[in-house]
């Protein structure tokens, strides 16, 4: 019985990974195609304005752009399979271009998610235990409002208030000699700019997921028994709500990565957003695809994890 169960779980994980990976490969092929249909190519876009048509033509051949897009994609994908991301249109190893920005963006994203989990669980929990009371009403309406605030609005407001007006926090993030943000303080505003909206979104989800558990008989009896509130929340409400909460957080990962481009631009954060924008401007298909592959892998990993959490929670439902 135990063996069958663990075998089933392995198959589940393998199936999930396989499906998600296939999806990623399709996405990468589409990325190459999308760059291909943009006007002009990497040869023109990566030379300076003064380059002559002859110099552009020579570079086109140097970059292999005379080959069909399918050939270029398969060649790149072959390299990817061996962990080689290839070279950018400016001739740099792609890992050298994206490695540090990827780590910086991951740090930004991880802090954002951690803060989101903390706030969403606290606010959602506090709110659900006092249904209809002032605190609950405030949490519900505020989270609804901030959920609609785009990241760039929040980011600009934070810069104006905390950097330009109060002079409390730096307006921008600059990289130090190790490639990461020069000071941890520089992370505060970018993380807040990304977190505010996610707190709104996830508080809503946490609250309703927990509220769904309220009518369950075992919860009812726990309340009747007069158990402490935090105990009811953690032992009786939360386990049943976990699948929904995990799914909500998983969608947040995608939303955070979307917001990253705007937030990184405003704070000059040395992350993937700028690399992606530049790569598109440069018509640099391998670089765009590398960004998609890396962020896609992160999202894939999070989605698989969320699926597993859900499967696990359903299996352990009291």
């Amino acid at each position: 019985m135990v063996e069958r169960l663990s075998g089933g779980r392995t198959a589940l994980v393998a199936g999930l990974l396989l499906r998600r990976t296939a999806l990623l490969v399709v996405l990468l092929a589409l990325t190459f195609l999308a760059v291909e249909v943009l006007p002009t190519d990497a040869a023109r876009a990566t030379l300076d304005r003064e380059a002559s048509p002859a110099e552009v033509a020579a570079r086109r051949i140097q970059l292999g752009l005379d080959q069909p897009v399918v050939v270029r994609f398969l060649h790149w994908l072959g390299g990817l399979a061996t962990g080689d991301l290839g070279a950018s249109a400016r001739g740099l190893p792609i890992w050298d271009v994206v490695g540090q920005p990827f780590r910086n963006t991951l740090l930004l994203g991880a802090l954002t998610l951690a803060l989101t989990v903390l706030f969403a669980l606290t606010l959602g929990g506090v709110s659900v235990l006092r249904p209809g009371r002032l605190l609950d009403r405030v949490v519900r309406s505020t989270s609804m409002v901030i959920l609609t605030l785009p990241e760039f609005v929040v980011a600009n407001a934070l810069v104006v208030v905390f950097a330009l007006w109060l002079h409390l926090l730096p307006a921008v993030t600059v990289a130090g000699s190790d490639g990461g943000p020069r000071s941890p303080v520089m992370l505060i505003l970018p993380v807040l700019a990304l977190t505010v909206r996610q707190i709104g979104w996830n508080t809503q989800i946490v609250r309703s997921a927990l509220a769904e558990q309220l009518p369950a008989p075992h919860v009812d009896s726990a309340i009747m028994d007069g158990l402490p509130r935090h105990r009811i929340l953690l032992r009786y409400l939360l386990p049943g709500a976990v699948p929904t909460i995990a799914a909500g957080l998983a969608t947040s990962v995608g939303m955070v990565l979307g917001g990253v481009v705007a937030v990184e631009t405003i704070f000059n954060f040395p992350g993937m957003g700028a690399v992606l924008v530049d790569a598109i401007t440069n018509r640099d298909a391998p670089l765009v695809a590398a960004v998609v592959a890396l962020t896609g892998s992160v999202i894939t990993a999070v989605l698989v994890a969320a699926d597993l959490v859900r499967a696990w929670a359903v299996g352990h439902r009291p």
Partner: protein
Amino acid sequence: MSRRRLLQGGAAVGTTLFLAACGAGGSAPAQGPAGPPRAGGTLTLGALGRASAVTRDPHGVQVNESDYLILSLLYDTLTVPGSSPIVAPRLAASWQSSPDLRRWRFELTPGVKFHDGLPLTSEDVVYSMRRLRQSTIGASRLPGIDVQGITADGPGAVVVQSNYPNSEIPVLMRLTTFVLKNGTTDPAGAPGTGPFKLDWYREGNARLVRNEGWYGERAPLDAIEVRMFEKPQAMANALLSGELDLASNVGTVAARVAQGRDGIKIVRRENDTALMVVMRAADGPYADPRVREAFRLAVDRDVMVKQVLGGYGAAGNDILGTADPVYARDLPQRKLDLARATALLDEAGFDRSQRYQVITTEDVPGLSESATLFAQQLNNAGVKIDVVKQESSTFLGQSRGKAPLYTTYWGTNDSVPYCAGKLLLSDSTFNEASWHDADFDSAYRAALSTPEPGRRIQLMHDMQKIEYDRSGYLLWGMAEGMDLAKSTVQGLPQLPGYGRVQLERTWLSA
């Protein structure tokens, strides 16, 4: 222009025969508190740059200001920009040409050492210039010069052989003839001879420290920290919140934000960027010179400068090279003249029932706004123009040099012949307007092959007259280069264009 000024200008343009035309200091005058520069301190500066375009190769494609700034402080070029004359000595102490202006001999400054202590020789210079010539963009950087044409003449001099007479060779040496050591294959971190040495470099950001062994005057600053910014607005914010001492070339739009702020000064460098509308001359609706003249007369340049540049600029007069001492100031300033414009359009039989397009980009601040205003003003002459905005790469690939009507800009404006060679000559590297004018070409060639300065200036004046009358450009304005700095930053460069990177005389007051 008086004869006397002409002659002074002549001395400024280049060299007189067998006589080094140099010696005058090239750096811009220091402004600010009186007294000698105070030594010490670290200048933290912001410069624009894109993460994916970062390069550490001084002979590579430099898109990023931040990279160019770092390279210019680490590596020396043979000559550097000056105000008057526009070429000042650096690694080359003096230069002279053969009577036919084809063979140029550059005498190297004595006592120059690389950052690792080894002395500079002519072999290093020859190696570096050949490396530049063989790079992807070498042909445009060193036009008319072959690899074999760059040779050593003993340990202390190099000879550059041009395929045609060229009085402007010293000007060409200003921008990218960065010197590496002979045999350098990996330029990242390779020692240079510049006023600053590399402390660390990471993804476009760097810290540089003073080179105590520099052959020039000792730089006052202990160190310079360069921070790369993708957007001017973020750079301006960083300066306003006190994180930067200097926001280099932040642009007119971002600089306006800082107006009237305590402790912050706006550094304005005139003649920085030329803003133009290109009218295709070879064929199409603007092939008739009368139509181009009409367009030039239908524009109110003062209004353009005021609205597009916020007043940080000057009206243009359709001639490139406004900061050149030989710039033809005597030609009357073109002004709005709608009556004459409409008459010319009628004369040329221009079809005003049609709609036309002007292609524009957001490559430099104000460019797309200038297209909108241009279209509105042309409407007053009865010409209906739609503005089409293109993204930068698309524009470069599809429209530049091809579209009948588009906006463009140009950043090196201190040399009339340099601009002519790049943009106006029939076979120039980028003849944006497809303008072919035999008179202009021959005046240009004659100017470049005339050793006698007075005669050369006259020929350059002829060139400018033709350009003024018939070229495919409507040069409506010269945008100022704008830097923002804390008021404690002194001795900042005042030169237009790439002169802004010369920070070896900059200092911090208490």
